[in-house]
Symmetry: C2
């Protein structure tokens, strides 16, 4: 078993690394070079036809892509500690929060990266006005998350979950492209300190 | 228990209705008028601070939003027939396919709807060039899905799953906004006939 990975600062491979660190599971990583375009090469597209990392390769040659789907595979094999919830309500609430982070917060941050960052301008066709407009959407999403964090320690409630992992990788990736947490977002900042202090955050 | 819904052709509420029809579960629906802006009213935002439908309301007043998270709640309560998989590999593979449909296929279709459709031009600020460019991305995504469907009956493999529900609602919403399945996509067309023939598709 191994995981094709691209290392920091890509948010999706990092989600899997943090998840496995929280579970105490060790897996071999094989680096893929985005700069060399290895993720778009035919031999990699046989592993994931969308040409995206991470990809989990099982010993029988089966491939699973999508970071959260890889995490679900390990959650099913190693249920403790539960990071996707146990009761029907926990399962639904954590999934809801993970999706909210992905669509409402990572969505606009990803649009800024793809459409308004100099580093991607050579790789993809950019729609600069669209990308620039997403900066405000991203900051407003952080303000919304700040309000939602009032009164509880973690994104989905009292316990650390995969939604915190998605949110940490999202917020840190925002920083990497210049979208710092707005100064007034005290709840979001203290949450960020709390989850960044966990050993898994170094993964 | 009830579900706040907006009816056809919105793809997300329909995903929940089809899912419940496949499970044989009946839930009351309360209609929300998007035209009247009821989803953005303060009393609705107490149920879902993002102002989106559907929202599941439990008898104790708990709310769950995000269509797939609502489906996961019912899957946990009523595991049969399994629509999210049972073994770790099935769980991962169905989740991977559901996410691929959402990000790779619904993503560009949603961008066309929000940024290049006359019906949304009065409601949101559009980036028309970006929206128009997403038409080709959407068609290419359908061609990719057509290739992936070769040799199996359903999106995630041999069995009907929540990934087929997401794909059906996505493809039908594409049609609604003028993005027909490309003529050469024979696998995608026969899959579409197959899933549309299920009684649940009328939900």
């Amino acid at each position: 078993m191994k995981i094709y990975d691209v290392g920091m600062p890509a948010p999706n491979p990092r989600r899997v690394r943090i998840f496995l660190a929280e579970k105490g599971i060790e897996v071999d990583y094989e680096p893929i070079s985005l700069l060399k375009g290895e993720h778009k090469a035919p031999e990699f597209k046989e592993k994931n036809s969308l040409g995206q990392v991470p990809v989990l390769e099982l010993d029988d040659g089966t491939h699973i892509s999508e970071s959260i789907s890889i995490c679900r595979y390990f959650e099913a094999l190693h249920p403790e500690p539960p990071l996707f919830g146990k009761t029907p309500l926990e399962v639904a609430r954590i999934d809801m929060w993970n999706r909210r982070i992905e669509f409402a917060v990572m969505g606009p941050i990803g649009n800024v990266w793809r459409h308004a960052d100099a580093r991607t301008s050579k790789i993809v066709k950019q729609f600069r006005d669209f990308g620039e407009a997403n900066r405000d959407t991203a900051f407003n999403a952080m303000r919304w998350l700040d309000r939602e964090l009032a009164g509880h320690d973690f994104v989905a409630g009292a316990n650390f979950s995969v939604a915190d992992i998605s949110a940490l990788c999202t917020i840190d990736f925002g920083r990497f492209i210049g979208l710092e947490i707005p100064a007034e977002c005290a709840n979001l900042k203290s949450w960020h300190e709390r989850v960044s202090a966990r050993p898994s955050a170094a993964a």
